[in-house]
Point group: C2
Chain length 415, copies 2
């Protein structure tokens, strides 16, 4: 019996799962490795953090995803070391995995850019635990403020969101919705004049890749929701008391959400891969790594470039397309065919700002905003959510929230 080629895939996010699925029926043995036992639908994490969705609704057991596929084996483990030229990985369970092909799909992690206090005092948003911790913290601040017999102290109900990209915009919008539509009714005796949502952006505009009119629409909408948007605001430190900006001003705040940046998973540099800006791996146009045969990098971790030299965006779609491409190239290589270059088909950008408010921009030049963009956003996110059950649960939750102005999951846990 000839041993089948082994394809090791590190990471079961959008990219890694796409590789595994695209190799369905292929004459290979796929070893899918992730430190967690569940895939999460990252673009909806902010809804978990703002009590709009339940954690289990945007997560799916990886084994459930791949168990109908006989050539995939899942391992819950971290990769602790590896010799990519010798084609060997070692995991946290002590197992050695010899591979013929390796796909690095380990994604990105929150980056503090070395800013003091971010790691200790700001909330990142990369895992279900992050989202539950943030949700619990937010609701607890309202409980604490309500328990006071005096005026709410400065900053106790100030929620600073750092970063004016999609994460920051969606988070800031969702916070105002949670506060105005839900918590205002939950805490009738609380002075909501003390509640502030501040969105900090170091540049002079929100949602950088979007058309300027959509950027302005987003800004106007956030302002309408009561978000205090500050441009040119560069955070230099975060403490338990708030943030300090480069211009010397300070914002008292008991809650800081860090949406200001991500960096490639440190595993890549640990495995001595060639790195470029943003902690991403330099790749050839077929997504292989220069000088290391059989090793591919996809998704947020890869710095793939289009024909104009622009690096691909760190979006789910780029990871999924990269995953499919790489699976196909591996099959080609096994059949002694040359690899082909990867070309990202840009489906456009979307960001939701709040109830009936979103912006979307398509490669055709079409720009949509407001309620229509919001409905498109809902529809596409439901479509891409993994699993029939998750889709149904999310749909019900959204319909229910829409009509009831309620949030079912505003529970404080582990506090």
């Amino acid at each position: 019996m000839i041993k089948k080629p082994v394809v090791a895939v590190i990471g079961a996010g959008f990219g890694g799962l796409a590789v595994a699925r695209a190799l369905k029926g292929a004459d290979v043995e796929v070893h899918l490795i992730d430190s967690r036992n569940h895939h999460i639908f990252q673009p909806l994490l902010y809804q978990v953090a703002t009590a709009g969705l339940e954690p289990e609704e945007i997560a799916h057991a990886i084994r459930g995803e791949v168990r109908r596929q006989a050539n995939v084996r899942f391992r819950m483990a971290r990769v602790v070391s590896g010799d990519l030229l010798a084609k060997l990985l070692v995991t946290s369970t002590g197992e050695s995995i010899a591979f013929d092909y390796l796909v690095l799909a380990a994604g990105a992690v929150t980056s503090d850019f070395g800013i003091s206090g971010v790691a200790e005092h700001a909330f990142g948003l990369k895992s279900l635990e992050d989202a539950i911790a943030l949700r619990s913290h937010i609701v607890k601040k309202f409980e604490e403020a309500d328990a006071l017999e005096r005026k709410v102290p400065d900053g106790m109900l100030t929620f600073v969101v750092a970063g004016g990209g999609p994460t920051g915009v969606e988070m800031a919008g969702a916070l105002t919705e949670l506060f105005d539509k839900v918590l205002r009714k939950d805490f009738p005796n609380l002075d909501f004049g003390a509640v502030r949502v501040v969105l900090l952006e170091a540049l002079d505009r929100l949602l950088p890749p979007f058309d300027v009119r959509l950027q302005q629409y987003t800004l106007a909408t956030l302002k309408k929701f009561g978000v205090d948007v500050r441009f040119g605001a560069q955070v230099i430190s975060v403490t338990t008391e708030g943030v300090t900006l480069k211009d010397g001003s300070a914002i008292p705040a008991k809650t800081v959400v860090w949406g200001a940046g991500i960096t490639g998973n440190p595993l890549a540099s640990h495995l001595a891969l060639p790195m470029v800006r943003g902690g991403r791996v330099a790749v050839n146009d077929d997504l292989t790594v220069p000088g290391i045969p059989g090793v591919f990098v996809i998704g947020d971790l890869a710095a793939g470039k289009d024909v104009h030299g622009n690096v691909y965006p760190q979006l789910a779609q780029a990871a999924i397309q990269g995953g499919k491409h790489v699976a196909f190239q591996i099959v080609r290589q096994i059949n002694n065919l040359q690899t082909q270059p990867f070309a990202y088909k840009d489906p456009g950008f979307m960001a939701t700002i709040g109830r009936q408010e979103a912006v979307a921009q398509f490669p055709s030049g079409l720009k949509v905003r407001g309620a229509i963009a919001w409905i498109m956003w809902l529809f596409l996110h439901l479509l891409y959510l993994v699993g029939f059950r998750n889709r149904t649960q999310v749909l019900i939750n959204w319909i229910w929230s829409y009509f009831s102005y309620e949030r079912g999951a505003r529970l404080i846990m582990w506090q």
Copy 2:
């Protein structure tokens, strides 16, 4: 303006919520105090622990429950001390609450009966965190076993459930279902011969309050599911390696679930209330505390007795009925009327064993078992679940699980 009488209610479980609701429209000021911000539907916690339901599906924000009721104010706090004769409570937020009437509805906590290692190594099942921790632990044991390149060590996949009451029976049954219907497909390479569920009962029968034929049916059903039921098994210690029984035998087990007993919330003895067996408070037949005017105790914490001298069972129904009764008595006292004795209307007992298997017994003498009892159980639990949304989500989850033999929530978190 005449100050309205203040009714302090400690605990927002079934009993405490029933008091608050029954006082709707009454000319009182209700202060509802709970250390958590959510009410949980405790009888379904075992389904969260076995990945059948999502935590948020059996929980509801307390403020959401009471916010349409103008005379209720919620406080998230623990009661740290009190002088019941002086009618004063002090909470963990430093607030003093002067009351005219007090209802203690603080429920019960897991009791280790002083058995060595239970508190440290066994899993209780009283909160959402407990249930998520147990769920994560269980699934993680399977991941660990699957990662081994050798035979599964003794006890790694042994799950000991201590206590043959409803909690133990439901837990043991649900574990076999999770293992046989779901994890067996998730872990196709794992030797399921190493998986064992052991149910320990110190006495010689399961479900003590049930008719002997239903007890025997339960035993036969659990055996059919593969549960190793051991009678006369008294645990004397629990360690990280397993349990030791009084007869000197040891059961290697990495997972011990403690369903062997509860005791009244220690707050009661801390407040110097008159205690009886099981950490419960001695009460008069109107559920007041002897010698302390205006103080009532209900639910799991109260040792109320029927006309035959039997103590009321520690069930949701007894707490709800007690809560309604006490609310009514408080209104009577305000109107200078004598209090009336509480009489528990026994609705019967139910316990589910697994898929299409349950037992139920009604005061009329009717005994039901198997699929019909199971459907009655499903229906009644849905009916009593708080909130339309929770009901819908649970119903969908149950229907989906029934037809797909799946468990959506088998996620490992905080491990």
